[in-house]
Subunit: 168 residues, 2 copies
DNA sequence: AAAGATTGACCGCTCAATCTTG
DNA sequence: CAAGATTGAGCGGTCAATCTTT
């Protein structure tokens, strides 16, 4: 939108506070990254390992968990996805033999997902290509200061969106 | 190009350079943002204006263009989407009366998309809610320094992805 | 032949409805 | 009833094949 009344001192409940020039340029750049980064990483994983990034995250999260096992709801939080999305994805990964599901012995209304040996192998085979792509597109030329800002800002944004989850 | 300290643009043939602790934590945070931000903004727009974020970007880009008109391929680049995705989306927006398409009079193999008055109205109605959401989730508490880093880093990542957009 | 654009089939995400266990 | 999980329909993105114009 070209011309806008500029009022910098009102809350959003009243008159809308539009973005400044600087904020617009930042949002343009951020939106580009947010749209393109998942797509290029997905494409790399799909091509080399027949996995989506989300599937990779699921396998990866399980691989570092105690007993390579996690409850579905905990797993969903870790991989930043909804429970129903996870359920659909895990069903496919189970059909491919990467994961098996069983009711939690401690409490029958939980389901735990367990990474199989076959799933582990697939993850191990996929990891180098994925990590190389992440390094190439994200970390290539970041300074430690930039990394710190990126991490901190990302965390704050995520926290504002979903106040439930938090990380070390 | 930059120097090559290690094995940057190599497939998993050599030794993989894994992520450091710091990089892992940064990537975890960034991945969360990249997955959740589009989804929450989409949800806001969908609920209030029956638009996806991508559709909003399309209308917004046209609204600031000369004559509210852009070639499809230029528009695709501006909104960070593929031409075929754009084509599908514009088709729907055209059916809803927000946009019309016509062949470029200067060169018949281009198609130009034009924002209609109705499309303009829909955009104007959607803008306050969207901008408020962007401000709330992204710019809420960013310092100017953080904003500068975020913008710069995002641009560099997009630039690294853009040229090829495909994989070797 | 090449560039711009479109199409449609396939696949996966979203959302609401539903099932199950405590 | 509430929490965890699942399901399926609908919708939208991706990708390859195709069409059109130069």
């Amino acid at each position: 939108m070209s011309r806008r009344p500029q009022n910098h001192d009102r809350a959003p409940s009243g008159e809308t506070r539009w973005l400044t020039e600087e904020e617009q340029r930042t949002w343009q750049a951020l939106a580009g990254m947010v749209l393109k980064l998942p797509s290029v990483l997905d494409s790399q994983l799909q091509g080399e390992s027949n996995l989506s990034m989300f599937e990779y995250f699921v396998l990866s999260a399980l691989s570092t968990a105690e007993g390579r096992t996690l409850r579905m709801s905990d797993l969903a939080a870790i991989v930043n996805g909804s429970l129903s999305r996870l359920s659909n994805v895990v069903k496919r990964l189970e059909q491919r033999g990467c994961i098996r599901r069983e009711p939690d012995p401690d409490n029958g209304r939980y389901t735990v997902a367990v990474l199989t040996d076959s799933g582990w192998s697939i993850l191990v085979a996929a990891a180098p290509g994925h990590v190389t792509a992440v390094r190439r597109f994200v970390f290539e030329d970041l300074t430690r200061e930039e990394m710190a800002v990126l991490r901190d800002v990302s965390r704050r944004i995520v926290d504002r969106i979903d106040p439930a989850s938090r990380w070390p």
